[in-house]
Amino acid sequence: MDPLRLVAVIACAVVMIGSTMKQSYAGHVDLSGFVQAQAASLISDVGCSPGTRCSVPFNEQRVQLKADAGSEEGSVAFTGKIDFINDAALSERDSRTREFYIDYNSGSFTVRGGRQIVTWGVGDLLFINDVFPKDWVAFYSGLPLEYLKLGSDSLKLDLFLSSKTLEIVVSDFTADRMPDYKQFSPFPAVPQRSIKEPGEPEIALKLSGYLGSWDAAIFASRGFYRAPALTGNSAELTAEYPRLNTVGFSLSGPLAGGVLNLETGYYDSVDDSDGVKSTINNSQLRFLMGYSRQLGSETQIGIQAYAEWMQDYEDYKRNRSALTLPDKQLRTVATVRFTQQYLHQTLTLNLFAFWGAAEDDSYVIPSLRYAFNDYLWAEVGANIFSGSRHGMFGTLADNDNIYLTVRCTF
């Protein structure tokens, strides 16, 4: 058991004991959680035998325990969230600390220390200044959206400067969880791979405030790419996380009865600033424009246009590996989200679609969720990838799945 987990278990026990002694406890203690089962079955024909891990790559049951506690006046607070997982598809049992942090609130600042999730930026499933770790396996398997975000062990300081807020996050590096051969095809089993994780901490800054009715923010970060750059030969590979610096801004405000979102960022690929290394991403400019509004009393629609503009493109073309098709200089993606609710918002139909205009591929996620009561809901949905196999979504075309999630909260 790693030390963090041990501390989490002890904290849970303390909180439980604390809750039974509420009369003498001056603050608040809340315990909650859920039991959840989720499975996804492939719907594309890739020659899997039915019922095998190949045809049902995701099948897990999990229990989440959550504890919140705080002092009466609110100066000190604690949140802990641990998932205990039985992964029947991979025949593994595991526990994961999703969040575990302590807050200290003063009049002019808040400090949050421990494992925490940070979400920045205004994109809907498109990220520019949200440089924090993500779990793409959870996302592609249809797990609830919260599992797309991974916590990282960080110290976060929020400074409240009159009408502006300055957030500073210093984190230990956490890589993204990427699809691999265990649950995705046709990802070949990787040969011997040595992983070199960065030893130095990352830092991210955000300064935000209101400009009239608009939310404005500027961002900067010094860190690393969260997907590894692989070097070596077929016998032995080295996975390294190249350096990445970012700067950007976002704006969000009302327009014609809806909400307009704008975000941009510059990704400075520090280890390949000239764009000559074939294994490391070149620097990029990223743009996002989104608009969402209601169509009726229970209907919402959102559209987004997104672009990545590769820098030093000529150098990239000269130095890239000849084994793959070249990436385009301008990668564009459009998305649409449509949400409709029925039966007093107990039944929710949601459709999210990515269309990779530059790579000619797409990714569609339809889902239907029904809340049987306040404690039990079930969701059925699908992840459907299609188009060019060279594209980011098309490369997953053998992994179309239909999933079912059932959650009971307590």
């Binding site: 909650s32 959680g33 979400t119 939310d215 969000s252 405000g253 009865g257 909400v259 909260t409």
Partner: protein
């Protein structure tokens, strides 16, 4: 001394005489628009600010019940008709910690944000349709935070006694297309709060009924502490109970910013 007294009495006498002269200006019916505006003021703007613990029971036609428990903070801003709302959910546990923040404006659309605690996400949400359901209940956002008197034309129909209270019965028609064609409200003549409201569709069918189940005097403000909204078409109804009400607790506009959306003010939020 006598003289100075007489000087003040004379104009008073003159006014009394004037008042005895029958005339339209003096015996006119109360202005319906003014009655509605005063009623909205009493209903949604009592005190400079307010805190309440709100429990909503959402009950379907078969009697199956869901429950929403939340803390509501509200304050009036200097802007005419402008308000700030902060609604923090405690139950059910699936939405615990989810928070709505609304900057309500008279002249333009409201600004509305949501905080989703599971991913620490603050998102601005479109607030175009104030008549959409508030968290699946029979109350609309507008029912929760109040409508604007000028958005409707008002006609005083009659006075009527209901449950021993004398009320003005007013018919109001939205100037722009809405989910109802017109509504009738029964406004208590003494404290100005609506005791009952009925909403009608374009065919003249009654579709929704609001009833003030309980009205209490809280810190000198008459307050509707129990209310029900019933959808007559589906048989679904929502009963809302306001407890632990406190007025003038000293909220500031700073409380209604992203800082507190991400980190609830524990002084007022459970």
């Amino acid at each position: 001394m006598h003289l100075s007294r007489l000087k003040t009495v004379r104009p008073l006498l003159f006014l009394l005489v004037l008042n005895c002269v029958p005339g339209e200006a003096i015996f006119a019916e109360p202005d319906a628009a003014k009655l509605v505006a005063d009623s909205l003021q009493a209903f949604y703007h009592a005190g400079k600010d307010m805190r309440a613990q709100v429990t909503m029971r959402l009950i379907n036609a078969q009697g199956k019940e869901r429950k929403r428990v939340m803390t509501m903070l509200r304050m009036d801003t200097g802007e005419r008709g402008g308000q700030r709302y902060y609604i923090h959910f405690q139950n059910p546990s699936d939405i615990r910690g989810t928070t709505f923040m609304v900057w309500k404006h008279l002249e333009r659309e409201d600004d509305r944000w949501i905080f989703i605690p599971a991913i620490k996400l603050v998102r601005r949400i479109a607030a175009d349709d104030k008549r959409s359901s508030f968290v699946g209940s029979d109350f609309t956002y507008e029912d929760v935070s109040g409508r604007v008197a000028d958005d409707e034309t008002h006609t005083l129909l009659r006075t009527e006694e209901i449950a021993g209270r004398v009320t003005y019965v007013i018919e109001s028609e939205p100037k722009e297309r809405a989910d109802y064609k017109h509504r009738k409200s029964w406004i208590d003549q003494s404290h100005g709060l609506p005791l009952r409201e009925e909403f009608f569709d374009a065919r003249g069918e009654k579709v929704r009924v609001f009833v003030a189940d309980q009205i209490e005097l809280v810190e000198q403000h008459w307050t509707i502490t129990g209310r029900t909204m019933k959808n007559l078409q589906t048989g679904h109804r929502t009963q809302a109970r306001f407890d632990e009400i406190k007025y003038d607790i000293g909220l500031t506009e700073e409380m209604f910013t992203e800082r507190y959306l991400r980190n609830p003010p524990r002084k007022w939020i459970r």
